[in-house]
Subunit: 317 residues, 2 copies
């Protein structure tokens, strides 16, 4: 059994087609067919059911593929280990970002980073927090950007910045006339939230719980994007909370509906998260310093007391 054979198996498992898989592996179809046959002979099992179209994995084939992924993954890491030791900043680098951070943060650092580290092949993926944790742990992501603290075993967190929440209050709302707003002013039943799984929502709910005024009311109107929430709020369906960076993109007339919170301001902690093994620590540090550089100009609320929703934790940002 060779690692190459396992690669070939994974390619066929993915594309369900020997010819296509061979192309992706940059070999001819007979080469790939023979190598897979050799492996099947050695293990004395059929990995693929070739009678089905498209080709299917056999029961045992599924288990073999799953283990083959492990092996190929682990063997790819050898290269990473060597790069790490050499301090080489380059190679494939997979970054996971949560949806509520992606559109605002990514454009701020992307160009900067790829110019500074041209040898890094950056792969950005959007996932929710749960998926991000899973992928960091199984090695499908090298690093992630998400709301913290997560306090997950084997994962390390480095805070990038604290992003305050800003209330978006439509004109007909009773709080519209206030210049600054307090958390307790908000009617929790009418806060519009993001759908489950988005950590930003978790953040807000925890915040409310921590303030001791969280009621178990069901929020029937939930959306996956702030754009929708803003429109719903404008329709008079309630208020919503926006992370500060999102408010920068609002239309001028919508910006008039923003109300900052009184101190301690609710904020979310946004961090770099990565496996404790720190396999790509040099690239991670490169990413951290790039983001730190661009964020400094954008979030200028230094030394203001804030309160982080996920941990009711006070800090200075």
């Amino acid at each position: 059994m060779t690692i190459t054979q396992l690669y070939y198996v994974l390619a066929v498992a993915e594309h369900k087609n020997f010819t296509l898989a061979a192309e992706k592996c940059f070999v001819t179809q007979p080469t790939l067919s023979m190598q897979i046959q050799k492996l099947e002979d050695e293990l004395e099992v059929l990995i693929f059911d070739r009678s089905k179209k498209p080709i299917q994995l056999t029961e045992i084939g599924q288990k073999i593929v799953s283990q083959a992924k492990n092996i190929v993954n682990e063997s790819d890491r050898i290269k990473d280990i060597v790069d790490q030791q050499k301090g080489f900043i380059g190679g494939e680098f997979k970054v996971g970002i949560i949806p509520t951070v992606m559109p605002t943060l990514l454009p701020m650092f992307l160009t900067n980073f790829v110019n500074r580290y041209p040898k890094v092949n950056l792969i950005i993926e959007e996932h929710n927090t749960e998926e991000i944790i899973k992928r960091l742990k199984n090695g499908h992501l090298d690093v992630a950007i998400a709301a913290t603290p997560l306090e997950e075993d084997n994962l390390k967190e480095i805070v990038l910045y604290y992003e305050p929440f800003v209330a978006y209050i439509p004109e007909n709302n009773r709080n519209f006339d206030k210049t600054e707003i307090d958390i307790n002013d908000l009617d929790l039943d009418s806060i519009l939230l993001l759908q489950d799984g988005h950590c930003f929502r978790d953040g807000i709910l925890n915040l409310c719980k921590n303030k001791g005024n969280f009621t178990d009311t069901k929020f029937h109107i939930e959306s996956g994007s702030f754009e929708t929430l803003i429109k719903l709020a404008d329709e008079g369906l309630g208020t919503t909370l926006l992370p500060y960076l999102h408010t920068l993109d609002l239309k001028e007339k919508d910006k008039l509906k923003l109300r900052h919170f009184k101190e301690p301001r609710p904020a979310r902690e946004v961090s770099l998260i990565f496996p404790k093994s720190e396999l790509k620590s040099h690239i991670i540090e490169a990413l951290r310093s790039t983001i730190a550089g661009v964020i400094k100009g954008a979030i200028a609320f230094h030394n203001v007391e804030i309160i982080s929703p996920l941990k009711n934790k006070k800090g200075v940002y």
Copy 2:
């Protein structure tokens, strides 16, 4: 990079000698030398420092070896997965056993098992509970026999038997004349115990704690074997507790010093422990049924109320 090359690296790392490593791999020394050079060329690092005698791993070499172990381990599992699917009972099977179970249980089932499953290459290792958990999780053991419950993530437990504790009371002790003994009769300060790390000791301490009369006294006399404890007890240094199976091997005159407990009897739960992935479930079941068969005759206290020390759990054994 090939799995074979990684095997070769591991062999040299183990034997610190190319010639010897080549022998163990059943290839000639030039073959092994060249393959390792090829890998070093591909990774562009030196794995071994050949200037030192005996040969040493470089810093990066250590990391590569550690990862190579992973990869080789994971690739060996492919064979296990196939065997598992086929229901084949054979191949390498590593069993870990704690020291306080090893000498009594192993002789009872070993011959029986190897006769019944001649294709299994049984490898027995003695480790303490902590080490066993580690090795089950990293794949160095297929199954283990230890005192339970452990309640470890990713490990499954199947109870083999409940083994009562029997008090060993020297003649000069105030409890010697009792025919049956109660847990509360024992003077905790003078119970002789096994040294730390042996789960049997943990078992007794928990038992005492559960009975609510555990004092934080330091036990200055601690030993690694029951034989020593018995001798110490005979010297008048206190009493000790023995697992039932150990009492069967005592000399006749020492058996006179044994006192069984009143119900509910203190007992330890001895279980098979294995990864939830159940890679070798057929062999594990074969082992379980073999042990169950021989233990039935040995521990004949069925339907007697017992109390298990690790969980203050009552059950019938």
